[in-house]
Subunit: 195 residues, 2 copies
Amino acid sequence: MRLSKKLRQQSLKEALQADPFLNDEDLARRYNVSIQTIRLDRMELGIPELRERIRHMAQQQVRALQPEEVIGRVIELNLDESGISVLKIQKEHVFSRNGIARGHHLFAQANSLAVAIIDAKVVLTASANIRFIRSVRLGDECVAKAKIVQRSSHRLRVEVETCVEEETVFRGTFIMVRYEGDGEEGKEKPDADRV
Amino acid sequence: MRLSKKLRQQSLKEALQADPFLNDEDLARRYNVSIQTIRLDRMELGIPELRERIRHMAQQQVRALQPEEVIGRVIELNLDESGISVLKIQKEHVFSRNGIARGHHLFAQANSLAVAIIDAKVVLTASANIRFIRSVRLGDECVAKAKIVQRSSHRLRVEVETCVEEETVFRGTFIMVRYEGDGEEGKEKPDADRV
DNA sequence: CTGAATTTAGTACTAGGTATTAGGATGTGG
DNA sequence: CCACATCCTAATACCTAGTACTAAATTCAG
């Protein structure tokens, strides 16, 4: 038997969520209705046509593809001194069950900022000591401030503190290693203490 | 002046790499040639039409969207005991300049595994102490082993060691907090020590 | 100047639609 | 049972962004 309009539209919505690559013809076959019916349904549900849906996905892809040199957006940078980056917590950063950000995203913001403020060809993290002080939630704007607090020839200590509206949510100390990489950039691991 | 065929095709390739959303008409205007010329160029360069390009990108997007409950693939799991996950280092995990994996991806693998092995409604990371022992490179298979080494009512210590072919590349100790979340799942932060 | 390479024009056809009009089927209240 | 509404389908014209193909015009190089 054919589904009622309501059920069909409900199902249609879910089907397209699961597989946005279905065209109207596929859908018409699936629900045993005419293409026109499917089109009316899409109208009523406000679902754009296949090509628009695909285009939309591809556009997000552009953003997702960006090799995320730094996680978050750098808003201040004093090379070899300090830097600030901002990360807005989106759906993809949180546990779906409770809307709390996964720790590694805060870590990633801090870690990549620590890398970014150091002026060298190659910068790697050797170790880190971190604390997640308060939970961060969907929609929060995390402002990470990084500062170099100690440096020797190629070893640096960077402290990062991340706040959401003046409240500290994360603190970490990163030991970073830098190499000028003069002529040996692509070579194999020179020793230890890298990532 | 108009570019030579060779130069135009070179430039075309780069332009589409930078912005795959350009259609033939846009390109024809850009290079002051006819649409047909652009189409010949695409043929010769083996560049598919706009819609195919977009479709391709969107398909990758599907994979990228997967909410990555655990970073890496879990291959063994003894709930409330231990677990193992494997992460193959891909292009998107490494610094393009040297092919070395960014630290936060190793951290993410370890952290999400630490979350996964704990049997509770809500599990958060309170703090962590980590060391990046050796650099990990493009193509490496990182095998992370996590073990709960200490537990009290809602606080657990998890140790994670990640190896690439028997060689330890990462070690971390994570202090995790669990909540059974009985009836208060969606509520605001109950206290501190969360992420 | 000639011949090849290059560019352009034009036609027929395609997928996957939009937008619109109109007609048929089905159901429901009076 | 009729009337009206809802729902579904059909048909047409049009759109974009192409492919595939033929043919003519232009440009360049020897």
